[in-house]
């Protein structure tokens, strides 16, 4: 049973984290593009803003790896 649940849990963690990041980045990207059209000087802020939600995916990746390693898959 562990053989099934461990990879499934890891996949779920990574998948949900990736979807959450994608959703956040889509919102920030759209708003950032609108802001850039009016104020090109905010480009740095926009790039950083877009990179911020990636932390969620990265932490999801780390947790997924932990599940795989600790779960013995």
């Amino acid at each position: 049973m562990t053989i099934l649940w461990v990879p499934l849990s890891a996949a779920l963690v990574m998948g949900v984290a990736a979807i959450a990041t994608a959703w956040a980045q889509s919102r920030i990207g759209a708003a950032g593009a609108a802001a850039l059209a009016e104020k090109p000087e905010v480009s740095t802020t926009v790039v950083i803003m877009i990179a911020i939600p990636e932390t969620v995916a990265i932490l999801g990746f780390v947790v997924a790896i932990m599940i795989l390693l600790r779960g013995g898959a």
């Binding site: 790039v47 950083i48 990179a51 990636e54 932390t55 990265i58 932490l59 990746f61 390693l69």
Partner: protein
């Protein structure tokens, strides 16, 4: 680093103000600033004549700038000289005339380009039927229609042709050709009296006639076609004539235009400088900023050019505020390209810390740890060397190469330590990881990434303590945060038995004692800030995540050669995958190394809000004349 600035005051006889400003403009290193009015000092009064001259100069600079841009005058260094009012009036007329000419040529070029684009859409159709259209030109009793339909809808044309033949008889001529775009072009000729029935048939078949462009709509297709083709062949010659006229104007008037623009910019700068000066009935006084190292040179220059009549006094630091001083960054040659990275943020405040040296070391190091591959690093290094070889001395590509080269060096170094050459390809030739294998040793990689985070954050907190040395409360709170962070790490190491486990209690208790101290120093935001610092440390785990993802992708690329039936196809796919991974390997570490610096590292010590350094000097008058302070 941020250069130390001095504020100087110059005093002299009023009738030598213009001469003094001219010397300062030649010297080019003093940023003039308005001085407090005291002791009978008054600002220099503006008059109507001066305002008229200023308006004329502004217009002259704008006209010359537009003409230079539209005539594509190559920018060269020019030395402007002060002009008389008569010269300014003559230049203004010349610049206006040249601007009008440049605008007329530009409008003509755009019109011809647009016309070529419109007629170009008919070119294939007209070429396909050129012979037939010429033959039908004399057949006055026939009316000719042109139609294009997508290849997939060819059946509709056949149906229309059958219907027309059935209704109008044998006089219907329907010819089809396949265009280079694969669309089907159809030419239909019917008796002129059948026009109404023809248009009804088009409507029934849901086919639209090709509309002729503006200027040809009153003519029939047979009349318009030869004219359109002739015009299409004529337009390149007309465009050449416009380009020739423009180049001729640029050659004849380019130097004059640049001289006018530079002189106007200089005179406007001098007028602005005059307004920043203060005068009494017999004397003038000017104040300004310059790097402290240049004060001696200024004294010598003024003494040599103006004699003892003009006195320079360096103001004591107590007489000015640091917030008013402009900021000049000065870094060693190797660090200077990284000013481009910090220039994406507002200038640091005067008296604070320039983060460029820390970015110059930290950015390539983090980049190298994330990419960590000898092969990719070598390719990046090759590209950087190529850029250094080909790019001009002031080109942005040279600065990019100056950043890429240290990044490549660190990538190669960490590639050796991780035993990676294009992923795991190096293992086939005996390459082995010295630190750890990033593909499998996930936990050591996480621990190493967090360790880097602790070190980088600790450095940020130490810099924060140094930069807020004049505000002891903030400096102490940074020190307490640093101490607590180290104690938490020590407690964790005790908990996992790396340190003696009996030390866990004392470490944990000391951390708990630190909280009230932080609360006392920083108020209610202290715990939030502390936990934000801890989360910053965890954010460095991205170094491991991106590095592992990179090595896994490289491994997939290497395994591709065996997945396809043909070795050649497999190798090609593998190379393509490596290319994609290399592109991602440049983009991802750049963004994340930047983010780790901007968000996690800078927040502990970076104080934005510096004034840019814009010295009073000769300018070329172009729009990009002002720049961020840098020496």
């Amino acid at each position: 680093m941020i250069l130390k600035m001095s504020r100087v005051r110059m005093i002299g006889p009023r009738d030598r103000l213009d001469e003094t400003l001219s010397v300062l403009q030649d010297f080019g290193r003093v940023q003039l600033d308005r001085m407090p009015l005291a002791g009978g000092l008054q600002p220099v009064a503006r008059n109507a004549s001066g305002d008229r001259l200023r308006r004329a100069l502004t217009r002259l600079r704008e006209d010359a700038d537009v003409a230079i841009t539209l005539l594509h005058v190559p920018v060269t260094a020019v030395t402007a000289h002060p002009a008389t009012r008569g010269e300014v009036a003559r230049w203004a007329r010349d610049a206006r005339r040249l601007r009008r000419k440049a605008e007329r040529l530009e409008t003509r070029r755009k019109e011809l380009d647009d016309e070529r684009a419109v007629l170009g859409r008919y070119e294939d159709f007209l070429d396909a039927f050129s012979v037939l259209l010429a033959q039908l030109a004399d057949a006055q009793h026939l009316r000719v229609y042109g139609v294009t339909v997508p290849a997939a809808e060819r059946a509709r044309v056949d149906k229309l042709a059958d219907a027309l033949r059935a209704e109008l008889g044998v006089e219907v001529i329907v010819t089809t050709r396949t265009l280079p775009s694969n669309d089907v072009a159809v030419l239909i000729a019917v008796p002129a009296e059948a026009r109404e029935r023809m248009e009804r048939a088009f409507g029934a078949a849901r086919i639209a006639e090709v509309p002729l462009p503006a200027g040809y709509v009153e003519e029939s297709l047979t009349q318009a076609a030869p004219r359109m083709l002739a015009r299409l062949h004529d337009i390149p010659r007309l465009l050449d004539a416009v380009a020739h006229e423009r180049a001729d104007a640029a050659t004849r008037a380019g130097d004059d235009l640049q001289l006018m623009r530079a002189a106007a910019a200089d005179m406007l700068g001098a007028a602005d400088a005059t307004e920043l000066s203060s005068v009494t009935a017999h004397a003038f006084a000017i104040e300004g900023w310059l790097p402290s190292g240049d004060v001696h040179a200024l004294r010598e220059r003024v003494s040599r050019s103006l004699g003892t009549g003009v006195v320079i006094e360096e103001l004591a630091h107590e007489e000015w505020h640091g917030a008013d001083a402009p900021v000049v960054l000065s870094n060693p040659r190797l660090f200077r390209p990284f000013e481009m990275v910090t220039s994406l943020l507002p200038l640091p405040a005067y008296g604070s810390m320039d983060p460029t040296p820390f970015v110059a070391v930290g950015f390539p190091m983090l980049f190298g740890i994330i990419l960590g591959d000898v092969g990719y690093g070598a390719v990046l290094g090759g590209i950087a060397l190529l850029l250094l070889w080909r790019a001009g001395p002031t080109s942005i590509w040279r600065r990019i190469a100056g950043i890429a080269l240290p990044c490549a060096t660190f990538s190669v170094i960490f590639g050796f330590l991780f035993g990676e050459l294009f992923g795991t390809l190096g293992r086939q030739w005996g390459m082995r990881p010295i630190l750890f294998d990033r593909e499998h040793a996930i936990i050591p990689a996480i621990v190493a990434a967090v360790g880097i985070g602790v070190a980088h954050t600790a450095l940020g907190l130490v810099l924060g303590m140094v930069s807020s040395r004049h505000e002891p409360r903030i400096a102490i709170s940074r020190a307490v945060q640093l101490g607590m962070m180290i104690l938490i790490i020590l407690a964790l190491l005790s908990a996992v038995h790396v340190l003696p486990s009996n030390l866990f209690g004392p470490f944990a208790i000391t951390v708990l004692v630190g909280f009230p101290v932080l609360l006392f120093l920083e108020g209610i935001v202290a715990p939030i800030e502390f936990f934000s610092t801890l989360s910053s440390v965890l954010s460095y785990v991205r170094i491991m995540a991106l590095g592992t993802a990179s090595v896994l992708l490289a491994s997939v690329a290497n395994e591709m050669s065996g997945l396809f039936g043909s070795v050649i196809v497999g190798v090609l796919f593998g190379l393509l995958f490596h290319l994609v991974n290399f592109a991602m390997g440049l983009f991802s570490p750049t963004i994340h190394a930047l983010r780790l610096h901007y968000v996690e590292f800078f927040k502990h010590f970076y104080s934005p809000g510096g004034r840019p350094y814009e010295p009073f000097r000769h300018r070329d008058g172009s729009a990009a004349a002002t720049s961020r302070g840098s020496s």
